[in-house]
């Protein structure tokens, strides 16, 4: 909207369409270069068990899709990520808001939120296996735990920093608590919440990777386990590539949602 007063720095940071195409070509080109480099290594002298060729990796992918239920495992992984992420949203946003607007609730919950935040999850996975088994439920649980913190902390931060003046405006018209939450705190919060969601989905994917590797009985982790037990690195790499793909695309999609939803932001409003 207000483009006239954009600073030179802003303009430099905002890529034009031309710049973007340019950037894509550059990135794709570099990808091709890396693949070529890798292929050269695989081709020149090394035994193929140690550095599997790209062809072998692609074949391993095909085999898994056809015979070993890779797509089903990916589906389960996505399912776990989304359910865990969704539950984290459901709990994290209201909890963050309440902590942000109420001193008492903040003081009550803050030490526990911080304490749980520093728990090394890899260490408590055995306990979680006892509680949740080795199937979908433990995956959901870990994704939830990973996604929860950025969501609750961002939501808290947004609510806590709601400008005093805006709250005073509502108060001066004698607005109800509910009106103030709905029309002052929540709209002010939205950019913070969306930033939290974007970080949350990224962390949910990382949580999934962790649980797949550690549990390694079913799902993607089970596939990795089978391949590596047979010393078939091409299979291991192919599954890792799938996990990497999830890790890159989901936060990217969330970013797209963010760009769509945000129609004002803190910076532009000049807080």
């Amino acid at each position: 909207m207000a483009t006239a007063d954009e600073s030179p720095l802003r303009q430099r940071l905002t890529l034009s369409m031309d710049d973007r195409n340019h950037q894509l070509i550059l990135q794709a080109g570099f990808g091709v270069f890396l693949l070529a480099l890798y292929s050269a290594f695989a081709y020149l002298g090394y035994p193929s068990e140690r550095i599997p060729s790209i062809l072998m990796i692609v074949e391993a992918l095909q085999v898994q899709i056809a015979e070993e239920g890779l797509l089903g495992a990916v589906w389960d992984a996505l399912y776990a990520i989304f359910i865990g992420f969704f539950l984290a949203t459901l709990v994290g946003i209201p909890m963050g808001i309440l902590m942000g607007v109420s001193r008492t609730i903040e003081e009550l919950l803050d030490p526990y939120v911080n304490a749980i935040y520093v728990v090394p999850y890899a260490a408590i996975v055995p306990a979680l296996i006892v509680w949740f088994g080795t199937g979908i439920r433990i995956r959901v649980a870990i994704c939830f735990l990973f996604a929860f913190f950025p969501i609750v902390i961002n939501s808290f931060e947004g609510a806590r920093t709601t400008p005093e003046g805006l709250l005073e405006v509502a108060e001066s018209f004698n607005a109800s608590w509910l009106f103030t939450m709905k029309n002052v705190v929540l709209p002010y919060e939205i950019p913070y919440i969306l930033a939290g969601l974007r970080m949350g989905i990224g962390r949910a994917v990382r949580g999934l990777v962790l649980v797949e590797i550690i549990v390694a009985v079913t799902g993607l982790g089970g596939l990795i386990q089978n391949w590596s037990a047979a010393f078939r690195l091409e299979g291991v790499i192919s599954v890792v590539l799938v996990l990497m793909f999830l890790g890159v695309t989901l936060p990217w999609l969330m970013g797209k949602v963010y760009d769509r939803l945000i129609w004002w932001d803190v910076e532009r409003a000049g807080f």
């Binding site: 003046g165 005073e168 405006v169 001066s172 018209f173 004698n174 109800s176 009106f179 129609w263 532009r268």
Partner: protein, 264 residues
């Protein structure tokens, strides 16, 4: 109907015991209905605190504030506040910002839209109904703030250094426009400022607050007749204007004849 404001032996103390800070000490002011009063004082003298008490945003430690016959214990729609930093909601358009008070009062949408549009026209923001605050200049933003306050049709308007954040020229224009609006439809106005000339041009009466703990140290009538909004130059060149300005300066502890310190 515009109402009178009575500040009756009001004190405000923050903290208690040894750490207690007396912000306001035993202040009494009586403002008749339809009077335009400026409260003048140095920063930190508690004038904003006093104003927020009149609006019911801050509790009193002692005394009583009444608007008409009602004792103020919480914010009421009878008094509307205009803020120094405008405090517009950045995610709301001009129209949505202006109708905020009516929305809180539960007025139905078509009525509040209509009233908001009327006020937007009257403050001269016709055509900016759908703009967001970030797209408006400072002066325009404060007009939105003014329209937001006037839209609930308050008996009393409380203005907390409303033009303090604006540049000199915009400030001039805003003062003129405020007088024009007020002289058409008189309401009781309390206007807090630290700008002496602003207070003389606008007010029927100027109160000067001193500091620590604050009390009213001067209470003078401004003799210029209304309407004033077209007569700024004439009023500012009147010799009484200079006399009043000098008196208020002294009351604020600023001595005009004092030599500025020369740094060698």
């Amino acid at each position: 109907m515009p109402k009178s404001i009575t500040v009756d032996r009001v004190s405000k103390t923050y903290g208690s015991g040894e750490d207690a800070v007396h912000v306001l000490d035993d202040i009494s002011i009586s403002i008749p209905e339809k009077q335009f009063v400026c409260i003048l004082g140095p920063s930190g003298c508690g004038k904003t605190t006093l104003m927020k008490m009149m609006d019911g945003l801050i509790d009193l430690s002692a005394g009583e504030i009444r608007i008409g016959d009602n004792v103020i214990t919480e914010p009421t729609p009878e008094a509307a506040l205009v803020f120094q930093n405008f405090e517009l909601f950045p995610w709301r358009t001009t129209l949505e910002n202006v109708e905020l008070g009516l929305e809180i009062l539960g007025v139905d949408k078509s009525t509040r839209r209509e009233r908001a549009r009327t006020w937007i026209d009257r403050v001269g923001l016709d055509g900016f109904e759908e703009s967001y605050p970030s797209e408006l200049s400072g002066g325009m933003q404060q007009r939105v703030g003014l329209a937001r306050a006037l839209c609930v049709d308050p008996e009393v308007i409380l203005m907390d250094e409303p033009f303090g954040a604006l540049d000199a020229q915009t400030k001039d224009k805003m003062q003129t426009q405020l007088l024009q609006l007020w002289e058409q439809e008189k309401k009781t106005v309390v206007f807090v400022t630290h700008d002496i000339r602003e207070s003389i041009f606008l007010a029927d009466r100027v109160l000067v607050m001193g500091t620590k703990p604050s009390s009213i140290v001067e209470d003078i009538e401004i003799p210029f007749e209304r309407p004033r909004w077209k007569r700024r130059v004439e009023i500012e060149n009147d010799e009484r204007f200079a006399e009043i300005e000098q008196l208020l300066r002294e009351r604020l502890g600023l001595k005009a004849e004092e030599e500025p310190e020369v740094v060698q």
